[in-house]
């Protein structure tokens, strides 16, 4: 069954889009990730214009983050103060990002920048995940391998920065500039790549800010809601590329898929899950890289010029 998407202005197979949302939802439930970094490239592979894919994915992530944050909020796993500081950076970063997005689009380079960002980030994250997971798999005999979290007490240039703030919930006393910068950077990624940015935010919170792992997911989800909401709003105003119909289809598929994924995931070992996710991320990265490197069938492309 075909449905005409009002903003993307193409007909798509309704079941394929539902299935895509469901598949990514399944993976996000399975691996506990947002899935934005998979949904945007898959939409592009399907033929949705990249600009629409990115803006619509941001809209869809608002929903998946909202559905995830409640459980964390109830358990007190959200560091509100830290979340707000990250958010302040995120709002500025995403606003700048939407502006950069519109500028690149007028230059005709937005598709390239989106692809390049994906290749770089997916390559790094996927590679690291796979490396770390395979090491863990081969080390299974040495049980109880604790995660080192001594970073908090190391002193580096980070602790010399001004504007120090106390974050009680995380038990930190660090410069506010640090979370502001992290928020800004991830906000830019949200605008340019249509991702929540959890895959950058979470490691940055643990290793750079030194936050306790318990509050990391909840806090990152909390601020992702507002940053993706900001991106959705700004893209609607500036580029009119948010397709509500597409977002709703993805949502329905995603919500259902995530439930199955979460159930299935509890049966697999954590390091096996991470290795699988790493492989998946790397294969998406390679496909994008392949498309950039291979000689296109037509060296010339045509676009309406009023954009």
């Amino acid at each position: 069954m075909q449905i005409y998407l009002p903003i993307a202005e193409i007909s798509v197979n309704i079941f394929l889009i539902l299935g895509l949302g469901g598949g990514v939802g399944f993976l996000s439930g399975l691996f506990g990730v947002g899935g934005g970094f998979l949904i945007t490239p898959l939409l592009i592979f399907y033929g949705i214009p990249p600009a629409v894919s990115v803006a619509t994915a941001a809209n869809q992530i608002v929903a998946s983050s909202v559905s995830g944050v409640f459980a964390h909020w109830k358990r007190g796993n959200v560091d509100l103060k830290m979340g707000l500081v990250l958010l302040a950076g995120g709002i500025v970063g995403s606003t700048v990002g939407v502006w950069v997005f519109a500028w690149l689009r007028s230059l005709g380079q937005i598709d390239l920048v989106i692809s390049l960002c994906y290749v770089i980030f997916l390559g790094i994250i996927g590679g690291m995940m796979l490396f770390e997971a395979t090491r863990a798999i081969f080390r299974t005999r040495r049980r109880g391998g604790q995660i080192r979290r001594s970073k908090k007490h190391q002193h580096s240039f980070i602790h010399g920065l001004p504007l120090k703030m106390r974050f009680y919930r995380s038990g930190l006393y660090i410069s506010a500039l640090l979370p502001l910068a992290v928020g800004f950077f991830v906000g830019m990624l949200t605008a340019l790549m249509g991702v929540g940015g959890g895959f950058v935010m979470v490691p940055a919170m643990i290793y750079l800010l030194g936050m306790p792992t318990g509050v990391v997911i909840g806090t990152s989800l909390f601020q992702i809601i507002f940053v993706t909401a900001n991106v959705t709003f700004l893209q609607s105003v500036q580029t009119q590329t948010v397709d509500v119909a597409l977002a709703i289809l993805l949502l329905i598929g995603g919500v259902i898929g995530a439930q199955f994924g979460a159930q299935f995931g509890s049966r697999l070992k954590a390091e096996h899950l991470r290795a699988l996710l790493g492989l998946l991320v790397l294969s998406v990265c390679l496909k994008l890289l392949f498309d950039l490197v291979i000689t296109p069938s037509d060296l010339y492309s045509v676009m309406p010029g009023d954009l």
Binding site: Y4, Q60, V62, A63, T232, S236, V244, A245, M303
Partner: protein, 255 residues
């Protein structure tokens, strides 16, 4: 939408019959040499739109050749050339063209070059090769030609420029019909359909009829809303997502 072709054609002929009788009647001098109409003057892009055909039919008073051109609304188009830089393909030079039709198709009952000389076709801007695009670039003439070809090739690839003239079939000496195809990605706007009656290589009569392609139904309203009230649209998009996420968390609460 799926009325059998035979019935449709029969219906059209029945519609056209009065014109024919007028043509054969005593008031021959005042009769129109060319009568044309469309099965539909509105192509409605609905939520389930996957492309459609519009039937153009008409009658000529005396035998002659018929050529039909369909031209969509003008728009600016940018042609970009990709170049390999550090191993990857990057958009580099570009050329902008004004008044490129968003859609162009033609049809004739016989090959165009038999019907009329290239000069006549050029005078009346009939055929893809006679469409003038005003280029805005500092490219050399050779490059200009390559870019123009790329533009036409890409538009043909998207199904928006007809590859070759479609066939007009004569049902008798006087009645003719042709199908104009509009693909799923047909741009919206007002289209101009020109029908030329050509005798002895000269244009004897021209009829122009408009055709409107517009979005209707929910998809049209969403598009309109997104462009006219974009801030409100953005806020609604966020609210929908928040509510959907909240419902999901309630429905699938972890046991």
């Amino acid at each position: 939408m799926t009325v059998p072709l035979a019935i449709r054609v029969a219906f059209m002929i029945a519609l056209a019959l009065p014109f024919l009788t007028i043509g054969a009647g005593p008031k021959k001098a005042s009769a129109d040499p060319l009568v044309v109409d469309l099965s539909n003057h509105l192509v409605a892009i609905t939520t389930g739109f996957t492309g459609t055909n519009v039937l153009l039919f008409g009658a000529v008073e005396e035998e002659g050749d018929v050529v039909v051109t369909v031209r969509g609304p003008d728009q600016d188009m940018v042609v970009r050339k990709k170049e390999r830089k550090v191993g990857i393909w990057v958009n580099s030079e570009s050329a902008r063209y004004k008044n490129v039709p968003a859609y162009y198709a033609s049809a004739s009952n016989r090959p165009m070059d038999i019907i009329a000389s290239p000069e006549v076709l050029l005078d009346y801007r009939i055929g893809l090769q006679n469409q003038r695009f005003i280029g805005e670039s500092k490219l050399s003439d050779d490059d200009q030609k390559v870019y123009r070809e790329a533009l036409v090739r890409n538009m043909q690839g998207a199904g928006l420029f007809g590859e070759r003239p479609a066939k007009i079939s004569f049902l008798s000496n006087q009645l003719f019909r042709t199908d104009i195809h509009f693909p799923a990605n047909t741009p919206t706007g007002t289209y101009t359909i020109n029908v030329y009656l050509i005798r002895d290589g000269r244009v004897a009569s021209v009829k122009t009829t408009p055709l409107v392609v517009s979005k209707t139904g929910i998809s049209a309203e969403v598009y309109e809303f997104a462009h006219r009230y974009s801030a409100l649209y953005g806020i609604i998009a966020v609210i929908i997502a928040v509510v959907a996420g909240w419902i999901a968390s309630v429905v699938f609460r972890k046991r």
